[in-house]
């Protein structure tokens, strides 16, 4: 052990590699057979995929990139969307700093070590997003979007750094940041003579529908979950009926209801826009699922907590608000992310009732005169799939990370 020559090192390394191969690929005769058959199959698939990727003509994506991202958003107002992007990145920077600061304070209070997230861990966690942004920028026709994106990154980092100067009161109420950010975003994009969200489209509309759908459905879902756990039989039965009814039907039936039947419920010829009607349908539908998620969280709070509240002389409402809900909602975060992911995927359903989201944009672009009947859906649909894959993959990994951190299911 004391004298190891370089030669010996290489020998052990090769034997280690051989041992790894033997253990993981060729341990028994059927494992060897599996490896060979599977390896051949995988090589074949990779070969075909590579051939396809080298062969495709991406003109359709270059020409239609704006359609995919924002639908028919007026060209002369595109700078409003960049303002929106800047507001978003500033908000994310500030919010991330505030959360990190809160975690630090908590760790200090508990006398635990502070774990600093380095930029390597950020890249490891969010590499799919970086790759997606790089791919999108690769398809732009001018260098301007790349510069603007770099600007957004700079603003995000700047906001994170300057977030240290935020007053303690704001950091403590970190939820204020996304709230103010959302209002500022809406005003920046749609306020002061901009086009409202019924004219938004493309991937932008998938994101907006997801965030707005979950945010609007949450209060309703919380009420339904509390109603389902209520000791008042009438309230309980009404909640159960609503939840089970909506969980029993497919989302597309709700969207059809929003698109074709919601107008009958409002007297007169005045109509909400398609976007609003679909958002109402999505909110109603999601609230039933969120109610079940929140119910899971409420059930995870031990009964002793409620009894402790009662023995302190708190009213039922105060017990719920000060003791049960904070614990229940914290436990529910990973499941809420799961719900968010599933809604994100389901927002593509609005394409069926002809709201121009990313999926519909990917389809209509192949019907343009210069691109039609060339089988280009094989190019545009995987491109659209990449957007959803990146979003869902990153979120599901973050949710698993959060789950580990919160220790859900370990206590």
């Amino acid at each position: 052990m004391t004298t190891t020559t370089p030669q010996q090192l290489t020998v052990t390394r090769t034997t280690r590699a051989a041992a790894w191969l033997r253990k993981n690929l060729f341990s028994t005769w059927y494992n060897t057979a599996l490896t060979i058959v599977f390896g051949a199959f995988i090589l074949f698939v990779l070969f075909r995929l590579l051939g396809f990727l080298l062969d495709i003509d991406t003109t359709i994506i270059r020409v239609n990139l704006k359609l995919y991202m924002t639908g028919r958003f007026p060209n002369e107002q595109l700078e409003r969307l960049w303002i929106g992007v800047y507001i978003t990145s500033a908000g994310i920077g500030l919010f991330a700093r505030a959360i990190a600061r809160n975690a630090e304070v908590k760790a200090l209070d508990a006398g635990m070590a502070i774990d600093h997230a380095g930029w390597q861990s950020i890249i490891r966690r969010f590499w799919p997003i970086l790759v997606l942004v790089a791919i999108i920028l690769g398809f732009t026709q001018t260098p301007l979007p790349a510069l603007l994106t770099l600007g957004a990154a700079a603003i995000g980092i700047g906001a994170y750094v300057s977030g240290a100067a935020l007053p303690r009161a704001v950091i403590k109420r970190s939820w204020l940041i996304p709230l103010v950010g959302t209002v500022a975003f809406y005003l920046g994009v749609a306020g002061f003579g901009g086009v409202g969200w019924d004219k938004w489209g493309g991937f932008f509309v998938n994101i907006v529908l997801t965030i707005a759908g979950i945010t609007l459905a949450f209060p309703l879902g919380l009420m339904l979950a509390l109603g389902r756990r209520s000791t008042l039989p009438v309230v309980r039965y009404l909640s159960v009926t609503y939840i089970e009814f909506l969980r029993g039907v497919p989302m597309i039936s709700l969207l059809l209801l929003g698109a074709f039947a919601l107008g009958f419920l409002i007297p007169g010829d005045q109509q909400f826009s398609l976007f609003i009607r679909l958002l109402i349908a999505i909110t109603l539908f999601q609230s039933a699922y969120i109610a079940e998620v929140v119910r899971g969280g409420l059930q995870s709070v031990p009964k002793g907590q409620i009894e402790a509240g009662q023995s302190l002389g708190l009213s039922p409402w105060k017990t719920m608000r000060l003791i049960v809900l904070p614990q229940a909602l914290r436990n529910v975060i990973p499941a809420m992310v799961g719900q968010f992911i599933s809604l994100f995927k389901d927002t593509t359903l609005v394409s069926i009732v002809k709201l121009l989201d990313l999926l519909l944009a990917a389809q209509v672009s192949t019907a343009q005169p210069e691109f039609q009947a060339q089988g280009l859906q094989a190019v545009t649909l995987p491109f659209a799939a990449l957007f959803f894959w990146v979003g869902c993959y990153v979120m599901s990994r973050e949710s698993r990370r959060l789950e580990r951190k919160l220790g859900v299911g370990e206590r």
Binding site: L34, T35, G39, V235, P250, Q377, L381, A385, F388, W389
Partner: protein
């Protein structure tokens, strides 16, 4: 309960702080608010339907639909209700074929993810992480447009081995047709089944008496096969393979379906299997390690360990969420609307397009799914209760 004894006597709280009164008032209030809102909306609905000269009841179900269902010989002049029933039948056709397929595929991939073979485990992992993070609707449209529609046109289909006729409209394979003497075969098969059950009972008793392994499934299956072979020989080739034949654009004989049917089936099976795979993997991992170690300590073989120790416990955890995935599969068949396969959602959509009142039709659509979902969830609840009794 509510009366409080004080030195001065019994004091009752005022009625507005009496919990019994509050409970009643709250519940009455909930009923009034909910049913009031429903009444208001119903009233609006009725007025608007009348204003737009649409029927306010369900009598339109007897009127002709004008809906065409390709490849079914469905008469567009038949009533709306018949079209809806035809749609339900097509939904069932998807569910009956898709559910076994996705169970098999999902289980295979889930087990593969736990394989000791690095390559197999990684490939299964990549499959799951790729597919379940893509919207199912996108997969359906991709399979339909980029795979099925790229097949040869219906007037010049591919006919591999003369066993299949494949075009972008329809895919047909060989079917089995029964000839005279099939009745005799069925009777002999039935006798074989009875014999198999009898042998199975005998083997079980034998096993209980002696402690030897019973192998009842294996032996019973063998009995059925023996009877089937004998019956087939006695009845004289009663079952034959019929190949699809092509006359111009018309395919006669054989067994198959529309391209849109296969797109939907393939896409949804691929998508749902990725979720089932995760459930299977999670359930196997959830069996405590001590169980495996105990099985090893008893010197059970690898197969015995899986068959008698790990799988029975894993299945108990896996079955309820897997049935939930079956429900999701059936609900996702409604996405057929995007590629034009005539199941109930598309029929509803077309009937709305033909001027029939949307509110009633959508209520019927929801009711159809609801009946199905609630039946399944009642069954899951019963199953859950039984599964729990077995364990603790």
């Amino acid at each position: 309960m509510t009366a409080i004894d004080t030195p001065g006597g019994t004091v009752r709280p005022p009625f507005w702080r009496d919990i019994r009164v509050i409970r009643v008032v709250l519940q009455v209030l909930a009923v009034v608010v909910v049913f009031g809102a429903l009444w208001l909306l119903g009233n609006n609905l009725r007025n608007e339907l009348i204003r737009k000269n649409l029927p306010t009841n369900f009598d339109f179900l007897d009127r002709p639909t004008g809906v065409t269902i390709s490849d079914s010989g469905f008469d567009p002049g038949s009533p709306v209700s018949a079209a809806l029933l035809a749609g339900i039948k097509n939904t069932f056709l998807l569910a009956i074929v898709g559910i076994p397929l996705l169970t098999i595929l999902g289980t295979l991939i889930g087990v593969a993810r736990l394989s000791t073979n690095w390559l197999v485990a990684k490939a299964a992992g990549v499959y799951v992480e790729t597919i379940r993070n893509i919207p199912p609707l996108l997969i359906i449209i991709f399979v339909f447009n980029a795979v099925i529609l790229q097949l040869p046109a219906p007037n010049d289909p591919a006919t591999p081995f003369d066993w299949f006729v494949i075009s972008n409209l329809k895919i047909v394979g060989p079917s089995l047709i029964t000839e005279s003497g099939a009745g005799l075969l069925w009777i002999i098969m039935l006798l074989g089944l009875i014999a198999a059950v009898a042998v199975g009972i005998w083997r079980t008793r034998y096993s209980e008496r002696t402690g030897h392994p019973h192998h009842r499934i294996l032996i019973g299956f063998g009995v059925v096969v023996v009877f089937a072979v004998i019956g087939y020989l006695i009845a004289g080739n009663p079952i034959q393979v019929a190949l699809p034949r092509l006359d111009g654009r018309i395919i006669t004989g054989g067994f198959g379906g529309l391209g849109s049917y296969f797109s939907l089936l393939a896409a949804l099976v691929i998508y749902t299997a990725s979720h089932v795979a995760e459930i299977v993997r999670g359930s196997i991992l959830a069996v405590p390690k001590g169980q495996t170690e105990a099985a090893n300590a008893l010197a059970l073989s690898g197969f015995q360990r899986l068959r008698f120790v790990t799988l029975p416990q894993a299945l108990r955890i896996a079955i309820p969420p897997i049935i939930n995935q079956y429900l999701n599969f059936v609900k996702n068949t409604s996405l057929a609307i995007a590629i034009g396969f005539a199941e109930i959602t598309l029929i509803t959509f077309q009937a709305i397009g033909n001027g029939y009142p949307a509110p009633q039709l959508i209520v019927l659509l929801m009711a159809a799914y609801l009946v199905f979902s609630l039946t399944i969830s009642v069954m899951v609840n019963i199953l859950n209760r039984r599964l729990q009794l077995v364990g603790r």
